[in-house]
């Protein structure tokens, strides 16, 4: 426990020191990594913990991004726009989840993908609200919206980085706490054997529903934080290729440890940044990486590392 606390503290210090030591490009990349890490953690709440492969996290990511963007453009202070954006995504998850959690395994994956693309279709066609193809532009990085002296402006990118990083770190702490909570245990029980979980008193469907909405909330928070960063939101946030990113990050890092998706997000975006300098066909490269992960390193980098350290231990 103490080691974990220390690891968390080191992570937090590194994350918060970035603006002091890195230039604008690295800072921008680091924030993108943090946002993807949060999205991947939300995905892994369903995948690693519950065993449900969601291909539709992009829907909630976009839900958060568009809601926050609309609120910001309407003049709502930043913090409230972001939190309300995340809540809007959770509300969307509460609606779609009602359909999705009635199914497990493959049906669940198909449904999340199809509903994700439904959101994409809506965003694409509902031009009056979403700006359609062009998306929403001119999103202000307004005042934070706290009372008195705390109400500083986040116009400078370095300040916005700190603000977003703190929110992401807090979310990570909450999610970590959640994975050790009774809810987390119930989800793992469902992953191992849903029938047995049901018989030992776990309300399976309701537990999955709670996890689904929670995952929607944090995916939405990640999306909401994107809107002021980019100052534009485009329909690509809802596309299935966006939903695939947390899948890749989690697979690369390892779905069975809490740190896996975070590490995976850093590696994924770092690798992408390098690969795109050599070829525009970076998806091809990631396809091959994914292939290798599925065939050989099913527990990701974290799993491979722990196997090196403790060759015979099984988790």
């Amino acid at each position: 426990m103490r080691a974990r606390l220390a690891a968390g503290a080191v992570l937090a210090v590194v994350v918060l020191l970035v603006p002091a030591i890195a230039g604008p490009f690295l800072r921008y990349l680091a924030l993108n990594m943090l946002l993807l890490a949060l999205l991947a953690l939300s995905f892994n709440l369903l995948f690693g913990m519950t065993g449900l492969l969601s291909f539709g996290q992009g829907a909630f990511y976009a839900g958060g991004a568009y809601s926050a963007a609309l609120l910001l453009r309407a003049g709502v202070p930043l913090l409230w726009s972001i939190l309300l954006g995340a809540l809007a995504a959770a509300a969307l998850a509460a609606v779609l989840g009602a359909f999705c959690v009635r199914h497990t395994r493959i049906y669940f994956s198909m449904l999340t993908l199809a509903f994700g693309m439904l959101v994409y279709a809506v965003v694409w066609k509902w031009t009056a609200v979403t700006g359609g193809d062009d998306g929403l532009i001119g999103i202000p990085r307004a005042r934070i919206g706290l009372p008195g002296p705390l109400d500083f402006s986040l116009d400078s990118p370095a300040r916005y980085y700190l603000f977003a990083a703190v929110l992401v770190l807090l979310s990570m702490a909450v999610l970590h706490r959640l994975s050790a909570s009774p809810l987390g245990l119930a989800l793992r029980a469902i992953r191992e054997n849903a029938e047995r979980a049901e018989f030992s008193g776990v309300p399976v469907r309701r537990t999955i529903y709670i996890a689904f909405v929670t995952a929607g909330l944090f995916a939405g928070l990640s999306g909401a934080l994107l809107a002021p960063l980019e100052q534009t939101v485009s329909p690509s946030t809802a596309h299935w290729t966006k939903s695939a990113e947390p899948v890749m990050a989690t697979l690369i890092g390892g779905p069975l440890s809490f740190l896996g998706p975070i590490l995976g997000a850093v590696v994924y975006l770092g690798l992408k940044e390098i690969i795109v300098r050599f070829t525009e066909y970076w998806l091809l490269v990631f396809g091959l990486v994914l292939l290798a992960m599925v065939l050989v390193f099913r527990r990701g980098l974290v799993g491979a590392a722990s196997r090196l350290r403790m060759p015979r231990r099984r988790t």
Binding site: F47, G51, L53, F99, R102, H103, T104, R105, I106, Y107, S109, M110, L111, L113, A114, F115, M117, L118, A121, V122, W124, K125, W240, A244, V247, L251, Y281, L283, L284, F286, G287, L288, L290, L291, M293, V294, L295, R298
Partner: protein
């Protein structure tokens, strides 16, 4: 009206060919092939290449799907069979890796530009039925789709190989115990499914623009179709495809803004009433 219906039905046939392969593979192997749309796309590209080389539409229609079946063989024999014992999610992820690889490989080889080859001369005319002028090619596709449906029915219900396939789909352990070589069967079924998708792609080549993104669009529609019809049910895939095709065609006519969302709404509706699909069997 009739014209719109025919267009819808012919669109439904591409969808049917893809959904049939998807459903067949799932029914027998319990693997959901995310890359099925990419196989459809490959069918169109391979047929296009065959057309450029041979100059004959019929050669293209024959060769394209066969090459796709070969790709299917490589996928199953080289990769998929290594993960049958892994959790389902990893099988799904493996096929997803193939979506990324195949889509980008096609972009790499053929370029991202849209290609549109010509309609064969014999099928480029139109037929007058009642007061409507109907393009011959659409009628041709309708015929091929129906023929494939009938062929699959005969194959699965009337031949001994079809019987083995149905037996394996119904109870894999029992079929194995009775001497069915499941691993060889899986390869054949996967190749057949890939061939169906390839045929759909090859047929779509003259009328729909060929592009690297065409697979993504159809796979999601095919998912909607099999959820509607019931995963693993060919009858469900057929009816579901017709439903979606007609919904799109008439939706485009009457409610163009909601056209894209109509299929998903139909899916949501079916899920509320019959979560296992119109022709599906209740889960677990």
């Amino acid at each position: 009206m009739l014209f719109q219906g025919l267009v819808g039905l012919s669109e439904a046939m591409y969808l049917w060919l893809v959904a049939a392969g998807l459903s067949l593979i799932f029914g027998v192997m319990r693997v959901l092939n995310f890359a099925h749309g990419s196989l459809y796309m490959l069918g169109a590209y391979f047929a296009w290449v065959a057309f450029r080389v041979s100059g004959s539409f019929w050669v293209a229609l024959l060769a394209g799907p066969l090459v796709v079946a070969a790709v299917g063989w490589a996928m199953e024999f080289g990769f998929l069979r290594r993960v049958y014992s892994a959790p389902e999610a990893f099988q799904l992820l493996l096929t997803f890796a193939f979506v990324l690889i195949l889509d980008d490989a096609v972009k790499l080889v053929f370029g991202p530009v849209y290609q549109s080859p010509p309609t064969p001369a014999a099928l480029s005319g139109a037929v007058l039925i009642g007061h409507s002028v109907l393009p011959t090619y659409h009628l041709f596709i309708l015929g091929v789709g129906a023929l494939v449906g009938f062929g699959l029915w005969v194959f699965l219900e009337k031949t001994s190989f079809g019987l083995v396939i149905r037996a394996t789909a119904a109870d894999r352990e029992m079929a194995r115990a009775l001497g069915v070589r499941a691993s060889r069967l899986f390869t054949w079924v996967f190749m057949l499914g890939a061939w169906l998708a390839g045929l759909g792609g090859a047929l779509s080549m003259p009328v729909r623009a060929i592009s690297p993104g065409m697979g993504e669009l159809i796979i999601i529609e095919a998912f909607v179709v099999v959820v509607l019809g019931g995963l693993g049910s060919l009858r469900g895939a057929f009816v579901g495809s017709l439903l979606i095709g007609l919904l799109h065609a008439y939706g485009l006519l009457f409610m163009p803004v909601f056209e894209l969302a109509l299929g998903y709404m139909a899916m949501a509706l079916v899920l509320i009433v019959r979560p296992w699909g119109l022709f599906g069997i209740r889960e677990g």
